[in-house]
């Protein structure tokens, strides 16, 4: 008998037993004529009454087609939010509620999706299954997969088929999305409902049109805060992990992109959201270029199955970062000096018109440094997480209108700029974890036209993470070479 793995994505806090069940389950009345519109709206969802604009909702509850669940439950004096799994006491608050006339507790953790309070009931569909119409040919994609991509694609397909949990570990620039196509196709054809979840809205916006193009006859629903197709059921959903809170037992497979990109505190709530949104028997694909320690250990101990793509689709190795001691960068910047070795690095690239990204450990240090670097070239700009013009500035760099950007770790992921060179200033700083440094290095040499470039860590004493990041990249290149996935 197969031993059930302790899943990376089921923590004790998220066990379904903690989800309050409806007070009494009403048997399905087969004579009742249910509303297909309501079925479509509510199938696989867990929604607030204000999210269900149907007058017939109560009739469906009475006839056993819709189940109702209290929004908050209390367990040993602690509140628990059925929608988001929050049970942190400081994230509940009581208010004089005009709906129930009592002092009513509500969950502040998921308040942006509408208030779940003690007197709130959440609804989900429990009537007949909703079936999607799936045409015989769903995938129109003409591209070809590299050898590494092909092997991974087959593994992903089988994992979805057999409802496994699989870590899909692929280097930055491996072409992950294309690898998923075959797996998605096979799943759709066998009547499965899929979801690709990502922590970032940017990724939803980028991925949805690519999927719509690859699967033109399939409804692809894109969900993020403020999106319009919020209530359209679709066989293929691309969603922010946040929007998963509105689902319950909906998906046969969930693919989680950038599974490591969560701040630690988000971890349990993400796990909760994923576990609630997928069906009891379902597949989970964990996608990342930089798996967490926990995942790597589970992989090493064979507790977590994994497939890797250690090489980029263009068959060139990932540039290995080099380390340069630059002295006390903090003090030098405070004294309005750029460490000479860094100034030289920048000037060389300004001369050769090579676009650059300079990573800084904090907004404060970056803002100190900006005027100094602007003395080298006035076109250099800075971006950070709260910068409203972030996208425009990145586009300016990509289109060559500015020579470079100073940035915090915000640009460590998702940015692709041809011919780029990257430097990390103060790379021994705690914000530059191994995975952050690997992601940063992953910005370089991405295009087939310009597959090389330099990554430089400027430091005032090497950190363990710097050394580990370099080992990480060397290890991937070595595996790629051993598997014959590199040309050079």
């Amino acid at each position: 008998m197969l031993q059930k793995f302790i899943s990376m994505f089921s923590s004790p806090s998220a066990s379904p037993a903690r989800i309050a069940s409806p007070k009494k389950s009403i048997p399905l009345n087969p004579a009742f004529e249910y509303s297909p519109e309501l079925q479509q709206h509510l199938y696989g969802r867990l929604l607030l009454p204000e999210e269900i604009p149907f007058k017939v909702l109560d009739d469906h509850v009475e006839n056993g087609y819709v189940s109702s669940t209290p929004g908050l439950t209390k367990d040993e004096g602690r509140y628990y939010c059925t929608r988001c799994g929050n049970k942190e006491p400081s994230m509940f608050y009581k208010f004089p509620c005009s709906r129930c006339g009592k002092s009513c507790a509500y969950c502040r953790a998921c308040i942006m999706m509408g208030r779940v309070s003690e007197c709130t009931i959440l609804y989900s569909w429990c009537g007949p299954k909703f079936c999607f119409d799936i045409p015989a040919n769903v995938l129109v994609w003409e591209g070809t997969l590299s050898e590494g991509q092909k092997a991974a694609s087959e593994r992903v397909t089988s994992a979805i088929h057999t409802n496994e949990e699989l870590l899909f570990w692929a280097v930055c620039g491996a072409g992950k999305t294309e690898v998923l196509f075959k797996g998605i196709e096979a799943a759709l054809l066998s009547g499965k409902r899929l979801c690709i979840a990502t922590p970032r809205t940017d990724v939803v916006l980028e991925l949805a049109p690519r999927l719509k193009k690859a699967f033109p006859l399939i409804e692809v629903s894109a969900l993020y805060g403020g999106s319009e197709d919020r209530h359209r059921p679709a066989p293929l959903t691309v969603s922010t992990t946040h929007q998963l809170f509105r689902f319950k037992e909906a998906f046969d497979a969930i693919i989680i992109d950038e599974v490591d990109a969560f701040p630690y505190s988000m971890d349990t709530s993400l796990q909760f959201a994923v576990n609630k949104a997928k069906k009891e028997t379902s597949a989970t694909i964990l996608l990342t270029a930089t798996p967490s320690k926990k995942m790597k250990i589970a992989y090493a101990n064979r507790k977590l199955q994994a497939v890797t793509i250690p090489a980029r689709f263009h068959r060139h190795p990932i540039p290995i970062p080099t380390m340069h001691w630059c002295g006390n960068w903090k003090k030098q910047l405070e004294n309005k000096n750029i460490p000479p070795i860094i100034a030289e690095w920048v000037e060389t690239r300004l001369k050769s018109k090579t676009p650059i990204l300079l990573f800084f450990p904090s907004i404060k240090v970056m803002e100190q440094a900006l005027p100094l670097f602007q003395q080298l070239n006035r076109g250099l700009l800075a971006v950070h997480s709260q910068d409203a013009k972030r996208k425009e500035k990145v586009t300016s760099l990509r289109e060559g209108r500015i020579p470079g950007l100073l940035t915090t770790t915000i640009l460590e992921r998702g940015v692709t700029i041809p011919k780029l060179d990257v430097a990390v200033i103060g790379s021994e700083h705690g914000v530059f974890s191994e995975s952050a440094l690997v992601q940063i290095a992953g910005r370089v040499g991405r295009s087939a036209k310009h597959p090389t470039g330099t990554v430089t860590f400027f430091h005032y004493g090497k950190s363990n993470d710097m050394v580990q990041a370099i080992r990480h990249i060397q290890g991937m290149n070595e595996e790629a070479r051993n598997r014959g996935l590199l040309d050079v």
Binding site: Y93, P96, C97, S98, R99, R108, I111, M112, R115
Partner: protein, 233 residues
């Protein structure tokens, strides 16, 4: 004393600064972090005597902003609202925070402003505090009245002297249309307000039309004087 608290607005932990003062006064008023406090813009400088708006040289007349000049030149509206005091600029940060407070229903955010509201009201003479009411429809939707919440969390007693007879869906109408609208409010207990100094409370002063409607009917029903306080202007 060393309990870790979270900022009510951004949920970051508030570093609790221990001082000798804490021994005598509970440091309970640290509801928001210094970052969030810094993003709140107190109204300052020369302001309209009537509505608290910050004045620019070009757009004023005898200490009144041109909007207020227009209101006070209109015999239909003259002299009902004695003055409005607002606390903060309705900047992007406050816009976002108020939206979360009233549209998402995050009541806790009222408490983030409680100390500011309480301090201001302490210096405003009044007999009764009257929150601008919501329509039944809005009330059912939100579960609480944001104006009342601001007073309640500041530890103040309110009296529901007004009832809303029209819905709030007026943001799309022009100023003229709004003014032309028939009476928006009804007074519930004229005896209670007779001869009293009333302090109206609301979250935002936009055009001033809501507060002036309320002031007019209260005064016509026998109230002595009407002032108002809003969080944002």
């Amino acid at each position: 004393m060393f309990k870790i608290k979270k900022c009510l607005i951004c949920n970051e932990e508030v570093e609790s600064v221990f001082s000798w003062k804490d021994i005598w006064v509970s440091s309970d008023n640290e509801k928001i972090c210094s970052d969030c406090r810094g993003k709140l813009a107190f109204l300052s400088g020369e302001r309209c005597k009537m509505c608290s708006r910050e004045l620019e040289e070009k757009y004023q007349q005898d200490g009144l902003c041109l909007d207020c000049v227009r209101w006070e030149n209109d015999s239909e509206w003259r002299g009902f609202l004695s003055a409005n005091i607002s606390l903060f600029h309705y900047n992007d940060f406050l816009k976002e925070t108020i939206a979360k407070f009233k549209y998402r229903g995050d009541y806790a955010l009222a408490e983030a402003f409680a100390s500011f509201v309480a301090e201001k009201i302490e210096h405003m003479s009044h007999d009764i505090i009257v929150p601008i009411p919501l329509s039944n429809e809005r009330m059912a939707e939100r579960g609480f009245n944001q104006a009342k919440a601001l007073a309640e969390t500041a530890g103040l007693k309110t009296y529901d002297a007004l009832l809303r007879t029209h819905t709030e869906k007026q943001s799309k109408k022009s100023r003229e249309e709004r003014i032309r609208l028939a009476q928006v409010f009804k007074v519930t207990g004229p005896d209670t307000i007779k001869g009293k100094k009333i302090l109206l409370i609301d979250d935002i002063y936009t055009t001033g039309s809501t507060l002036r409607h309320a002031a007019k009917i209260l005064k016509q029903s026998g109230a002595e004087e009407i002032y108002s306080l809003t969080l944002a202007r």
